[in-house]
């Protein structure tokens, strides 16, 4: 197990290095692109361009440029946005992270609870109308663009039905930090949580149902039934438990992707100032240092989450531990 962790960590470091190189190459070495102009954003002054050329040593060979960039990003952490000289990129990302985490953790709780519940219900009621009904709802859930669903929810809760008893409690769009007012934090995030989780509820319910139907003919399930266990016991203690292995590894991957930038669209639609909205604002202003930094942040987060899932998975299932 220790060897496995060591090997995985070495692999992780290599991938992280490769990610920074690839991102650097996309922004600095795409043929036909002048990186100084790129980094300077829209309508730069000649001074800004000269300052950037000097700061990143763009007249020097590529490996030196790369090293300088990484120094600004990781060691001195003083990479500055060129759209807004006062904005330091790394502190801005760190400040935005709690918002993204609030959004994703809340949505994750909702999607795990409802995903498991609907998946179980579909299996229990297999053969009745309930199973196909749940499955078609799940399919519609995974077919909706998340940003569109967010807008439709906004239309309903902020405008059309806002003055009825159903949604008069919905606060205006925006974010209130948990440390400032936990109740307002909760109220502001309910609709974004629902909007973000619907896709995953549908997906997890489908995966869990397929998985449960797969294991129901396994020998150990037959043995459990033969022992005279109740149907509920067989389902929850035996079938659900094995199915959770797939479930847990999928969850780790999806959670990593969302925190690493996948929640961008939801943050944009609901005006939540997380890392995604930061990326979007810099996208509109073509503020390349911020985009590059958020891309590297996101890829780092996902890679580390994947490595953790691998280790956890190896603990749960010794068969996949490579020799």
């Amino acid at each position: 197990m220790l060897t496995f962790i060591v090997r995985r960590t070495i692999g992780l470091v290599v991938v992280l290095f490769a990610i920074t190189v690839l991102t650097f190459l996309i922004f600095f070495a795409t043929p036909g692109i002048d990186p100084a102009r790129q980094l300077a954003g829209r309508n730069p002054t000649p001074q800004t361009i000269a300052a950037i050329k000097h700061q990143f040593g763009l007249d020097r060979p590529l490996p030196v440029q790369y090293a300088l960039m990484m120094k600004h990003l990781f060691i001195s952490r003083d990479l500055v946005s060129y759209g807004n000289q006062a904005l330091k990129v790394v502190p801005a990302i760190i400040a935005a992270t709690p918002v993204t985490l609030s959004l994703v953790i809340g949505a994750a709780i909702i999607w795990v609870v409802f995903g498991v519940l609907l998946g179980l219900l579909a299996v229990v009621f297999k053969g009745t109308f309930v199973d196909p009904l749940i499955m078609i709802l799940a399919l519609i859930g995974i077919s909706m663009p998340v940003f569109w669903l967010g807008e439709v929810l906004n239309l309903i809760t902020q405008d059309r039905l806002h003055n009825t008893f159903l949604f008069h409690w919905v606060p205006p769009l925006g974010y209130v930090p948990l440390t400032e007012d936990p109740w307002q934090w909760f109220l502001h995030l309910i609709i974004p949580w629902i909007s973000l989780s619907i896709l995953y509820i549908g997906f997890y319910a489908r995966v869990l149902r397929a998985n449960l139907l797969d294991v129901q003919n396994e020998d150990y399930v037959r043995t459990a039934r033969a022992k005279g266990l109740t149907e509920r016991n067989v389902l929850v203690r035996h079938m659900l438990r094995t199915s959770m292995i797939t479930f847990v590894s999928l969850f780790g991957l999806d959670f990593g992707v969302l925190v690493g930038g996948g929640a961008l669209l939801t943050e944009v639609v609901f005006g939540l100032p997380g890392v995604g909205l930061l990326t979007y604002r810099s996208l509109v202003a073509l503020d390349l240092p911020v985009i590059m930094a958020t891309v590297i942040y996101g890829a780092f987060f996902i890679t580390i989450a994947n490595a953790m899932v691998d280790v956890l998975y190896a603990r749960l299932d010794p068969r996949i531990r490579p020799a």
Partner: protein
């Protein structure tokens, strides 16, 4: 990703089939028959084809039925509704008459779903937008599957260093969040309004090829991984060994022995890939880094509709409904194709 593995070892029966149904039938004919009998999947196929046909009839609708030009802003024009000339952009209502509101749904052929902020016919734009969205998503899904198939064949067949280089490259692309990689590539390619020149290749930012290639590239690892795994297992089969013993060339081994045995995986993945790329294209266009003005796609129309959400919600709602219908049809069809090719197979992808 063991859960993406797709094995087709022994013949298995779908519900309602008997062993005699198999006698003398090729796997493809059998799958075709199963698919044709799947009414839900057939309905989904018809719905998808209907959306494609209607979208490609966009110019006909705009010129001959609606008589509107969906790409020219029409801020001062009028249109005829029930015999009366009506302003396309109307003065705001209320006691002060502030602001300007585009015309709402007329439920007539002209401005059927109303106008957007520029006074352009929303229904005609949705049809043109559908054509753009479908061209980009189908194009990128096909390119993605073909490239992934070729790379997976090469990696699985030659093994060793070829496999190592290709698989590590795929791992690297996989490590990036799909949207962030697409965003990086788009921002870099879109910053030069007059495009980039790479030798003989000219990259025009307003061309659909930019989003098509970007989306195709970011999804290659998702197709490459399961196919490579399958190539690896097929390569060890006896019939491949037999072909080697007959002195078959590498080319023949790859394309007439291995390819036919992994192609079903691609066939199953294609509809699901198109469903995924429809959603990705919409997201990129919504973020204004996909289809560029004056072209429209479903994503850009939803983006346009954001400012009108509370006054003229139809502008954002209609293209969204088109996306949901398209993706839903493709997902159902994909499930049907998977069940038809192997009733026991477990394979899912998602975006």
């Amino acid at each position: 990703m063991a859960d993406l593995a797709y094995e087709q070892e022994e013949i298995s029966l779908a519900p309602g089939e008997s062993a005699s149904d198999f006698a003398g039938r090729s796997p493809w004919r059998l799958a075709g028959r199963r698919l044709l009998r799947n009414r839900v999947a057939m309905a989904a196929l018809v719905l998808f084809l209907l959306i494609v046909v209607v979208s490609f009839l966009a110019p006909f609708y705009a010129h001959h039925l609606a008589h509107t030009d969906p790409f020219v802003s029409n801020l001062t024009g009028t249109t005829k509704v029930d015999g009366k000339e009506v302003q396309v952009i109307q003065q705001g209502t209320g006691p002060l008459g502030l602001g300007e509101i585009p015309i709402g749904p007329t439920w007539h052929l002209n401005y059927f779903m109303g106008a957007d902020e520029q006074g352009r016919d929303v229904m005609a734009r949705v049809l043109y937008g559908g054509r753009a969205s479908l061209e980009i998503s189908i194009g990128s899904a096909v390119i993605c599957c073909v490239l992934a198939l070729v790379l997976a064949l090469a990696a699985g067949f030659f093994g060793r260093s070829t496999d190592a280089v290709l698989s590590r490259t795929m791992d690297l692309i996989w490590a990036f969040p799909v949207y962030l990689l697409a965003i990086s590539l788009s921002t870099v390619l879109l910053t030069k309004p007059d495009g980039l020149q790479w030798g003989p290749i000219h990259v025009n930012p307003s061309s659909f090829w930019v989003p098509i290639w970007i989306i195709a590239i970011v999804y290659i690892p998702y197709v490459y991984r399961p196919v490579r795994g399958q190539v690896l297992s097929v390569r060890e089969k006896e019939y491949v060994e037999a072909a080697v013993a007959q002195g078959a060339s590498n080319f023949r081994l790859m394309f007439s022995e291995i390819l036919p045995n992994v192609i079903s995986t691609i066939v199953v993945m294609l509809p699901l890939m198109i469903a995924t790329t429809v959603l990705t294209e919409a997201a990129l266009s919504f973020l204004s880094i996909g289809v560029q003005a004056p072209q429209a796609s479903w994503g850009t129309i939803i983006d346009d509709g954001q400012d009108l959400l509370y006054t003229r919600p139809m502008v954002a709602i209609v293209p969204g409904i088109m996306i949901v219908l398209t993706v839903l049809a493709l997902n159902i069809l994909g499930d049907g194709v998977r069940d038809a090719l192997d009733p026991r197979a477990k394979l899912r992808i998602k975006g």
